[in-house]
Amino acid sequence: MPKGKARLVLELLRESEEEGEDISFGEVLASVLTKAPELAQHARDLWKLSPLPPRVALALLYLSPEWRPYARVAAHEFLAYLVDLKEKGCQVEAKERV
């Protein structure tokens, strides 16, 4: 499990995947920090992205030289989760339909 900023980005990716595009990045960030308040110290410069759609805010975060290395670490971790999560979800859905 990544630590610090990398873990914060990982949790933001997970929350964005679950919540979709109907909420703002600020709501995603608030939700992550409610579940993991210890990450708040790393989130201070992210609140300015609050009004943006989550995917747009994450893209801007990735363009930041300060955040980019942490985002890459989080991305590697998240990709395994993403594929595994959806595979399991599809299997459940297929069984339910049968």
């Binding site: 990716l13 964005s16 995947e17 595009e21 009004p51 943006l52 759609p53 995917r55 747009v56 994450l58 893209a59 801007l60 990735y62 363009l63 985002a71 890459r72 989080a74 991305a75 590697h76 998240f78 990709l79 993403l82 594929v83 959806k86 595979e87 599809c90 859905e93 297929a94 339909r97």
Partner: protein, 157 residues
């Protein structure tokens, strides 16, 4: 070129904070100078909408030649090279895209850049009125699709 479509120049004159430009990536992948032009605009974000994870399904869904399948990926590479704010979206609804194809699409994106793949916006097909009308026009039964549609994708493998 972009300066022949003055929308972005006009947007720059406003105090609006964000302009999201939606594209299928065909033009941007075919001519990187579009991307270079777009990179001049700091408040513009690009949403690249991918239609498929394989050339044959790309042709099936869009009617375009299979060779054009590569163009959106070239657009993504160009956007990365020029430091443009963008993310990728794809209709990975399991009723439309098989799990194998979805994995191939994510893996292809991850080869280009892992964060671009991780930030993928996965879309689900909702039964909007316009969607139902268009499905019917293409000979698809919307009721059958929205109740048993996963079988369409499962047949593809």
């Amino acid at each position: 070129m972009i300066n022949q479509a003055p929308g972005l120049e006009e947007f720059e004159q406003t105090d609006l904070s964000l302009f999201i430009l939606e594209t299928n990536g065909i033009l941007l992948g075919n001519d990187r100078s579009y991307v270079r032009e777009i990179s001049r605009f700091e408040r513009v974000h690009i949403r690249v909408s991918l239609k498929a994870g394989r050339p044959e399904t790309f042709t099936q869904r869009t009617g375009a030649v299979p060779e054009a399948f590569e163009l959106p990926f070239k657009a993504i590479e160009a956007l990365l090279d020029h430091g443009v704010s963008f993310h990728v979206a794809a209709m990975t609804d399991p009723r439309l895209m098989s799990e194998n194809e979805r994995k191939e699409l994510i893996e292809r994106l991850a080869e280009i850049d892992p964060f671009v793949a991780a930030n993928l916006e996965e879309e689900i097909c909702d039964p909007y009125e316009t969607t139902i009308v268009r499905m019917a026009a293409y000979g698809l039964d919307p009721v059958k699709f929205f109740t048993r549609g996963i079988e369409f994708a499962e047949r593809e493998g």
